[in-house]
Amino acid sequence: MLVVPVLLGTILLVYGLVFLTPGDPIRRLAGTKPLSESTYNEITHRYHLDQPFVVQYLYYLNGIVHGDLGATFTGRDVSEIIKERFPVTLKLTLGAFTVEVVMGLALALVAALKRRTLADTGILVYTLVMITIPVIVLGFILQYTFGVKLGWFPVAGIQDGWKSYVLPSLTLGLGSAAALGRLARSNILDNMAGEHIRAAVARGLPRRRVVGRHVMKNSLVPIVTILGLDLAYLMGGAILTERIFNLPGLGNALFTGIATENGPLVVGLVTLSAIIFVFTILIVDLLCARIDPRISYE
């Protein structure tokens, strides 16, 4: 399975960026903050920096397998912080994902079925605009219009239950919904023009119900692939979104980590997201192999 070397390679890459690049890694992790001698020694001991590289790295890997993603300079375990903040980010990501799937597919289907009508053109224009607007700007727009001016949804914090997640989910999800919509639309249109669809119609199968089944299953592979790959985008965007809407999730933790030059936290979170992404790609590949028999997973 190719996953293992890639996973190891990715962890090694992040590790290497921190510990193998020229300079003092501990200094680098601390940023411009002063370090007491005892803290310095503690870190050296914890990361086994006095040992040869391979040993260091193996301890590190072992740590990851056991859920140890490092500790901040204030002594908190990164994994603790993750456990604490994970639910918020999960809800945000799920919300954004729902927006992406529901809206993206709806846009694609409407545009494909109502080809060449005003609806299709409208959708094309709308999606083009939406993929252009960066997350930051979209966040501001939604905050201002629906939060401040109209007052329908809160603009910060999570105290209002599910309502708190509406604007952030839209901010994060609308862009990728638009991208998915465009790609899915073009893919569906291509499939609709396929010879096997014409052959199905020639057999007297009803267009909507049955032929639709054929078109959708053929489009499923690219759609699933996009959804999986978009996760990377969602993870990056979550940072910006949580910052703008002040949600106490992992993204905000990362942002604080940057602001306070909390190296270990940044490293731990980035490692985590890379690991999640590798597994997502794996799942996507397996799903695609299930859907399309021509794809074989080596």
């Binding site: 890639v6 890459l13 992040v14 997350v135 501001f140 201002y144 985008y233 940072i239 910052r243 790609i281």
Partner: protein, 306 residues
């Protein structure tokens, strides 16, 4: 039905489907003709030219001194004196926004050129020579691909304490090239089996030459389209990174910085957010439109593939 389309420029060539690279010259004039008629191209070209001018010669836009910031003028709303108002330091906002174009443009170009350079060389080697070259290149690409670009850039920039537009561009490109690499690789792989390539091989042409003269010219179309999107994405990424604090820092001028400040004064000084957002969207939009019109003119299908 394609069997009824007159084959004007392909007349006399008996190859069933593939036009040999000799016909490439006429294909480009065809492409240019299609683009000329595309409104999106002209809008994109106009915007990009405008931003390029802003980047190279901002003074053409009636700007004042971007560093002249009398603190007493701080946070004034737009007026005839200050078209976009002033920021919280007292600088003329209009001038600062115009100067922001230079940063974004620079980053976009750096990312695009580095990404294209790496992706073209590695991608075409991997696709054409396959075997070990492919295996190694693809693994490296997979590893870098697994780290979401924004997060990877955050990691590096945090550890190495930010940098100028050039460094940021390099970092974005470092995590971003695998995407285009895959595109080039799959284009080369499908181009490898074309009739004219096989003909060239039987005639003994070395791989490098075949790549240069046959495979790449015919496969360059999707790369160009993707490059336009890459620039748009890079501009957005830089803004995001700077907004988060890992990108450029003062006294550099960047829309990301302006947006970060605007965020802290939101919603009282809402106008601070409007102008950099507008310009950011316009620049990203310009490159995306360019990509769209290129895609239609070159008839490229960018499907997600593994």
């Amino acid at each position: 039905m394609s069997s009824h389309r007159p084959t004007s420029y392909l007349e006399g060539i008996s190859a069933v489907d593939d036009a040999p690279s000799a016909a490439a010259a006429t294909l480009w004039t065809d492409v240019w003709r299609k683009m000329r008629r595309d409104k999106r191209f002209w809008v994109a070209a106009a915007l990009i030219t405008m931003f390029a001018l802003m980047a190279i010669a901002p003074f053409l836009f009636f700007t004042k001194d971007p560093q002249a910031c009398p603190i007493v003028d701080f946070a004034q709303r737009p007026s005839r004196q200050h078209w976009f108002g002033t920021d919280i330091l007292g600088c003329d906002y209009y001038t600062r926004v115009i100067y922001g174009a230079r940063t974004s443009f620079k980053v976009g170009l750096v990312v695009a050129s580095v990404t294209i350079a790496i992706a073209l060389t590695l991608g075409s080697s991997a696709g054409y020579y396959a075997g070990k070259t492919d295996m190694i290149a693809s693994r490296i690409a997979d590893i870098l691909f697994s780290v979401p670009t924004l997060l990877g850039a955050i990691l590096v920039l945090t550890l190495f304490h930010g940098g100028g537009a050039l460094i940021i561009g390099l970092v974005i490109a470092f995590f971003g090239w695998p995407d285009m690499f895959r595109l080039v690789r799959s284009t080369v792989i499908s181009g490898k089996s074309r009739g004219y390539v096989r003909a060239a091989r039987t005639m003994g042409s070395p791989g490098r030459t075949i790549l240069r003269r046959h495979v790449l010219p015919n496969g360059i179309a999707p790369v160009l389209v993707f490059a336009a999107y890459v620039i748009g994405g890079a501009v957005g990424a830089e803004a995001g990174l700077t907004f988060l604090g890992v990108g450029l820092r003062l006294p550099a001028i960047s829309w990301g910085l302006q947006l970060a400040v605007a965020d802290t004064r939101f919603p009282e000084l809402a106008y601070l957010m409007v102008y950099p957002s507008l310009f950011l969207c316009l620049m990203i939009g310009a490159f995306i439109l360019l990509g769209e019109s290129l895609r239609d003119a070159l008839d490229v299908k960018l499907e997600p593939n593994d």
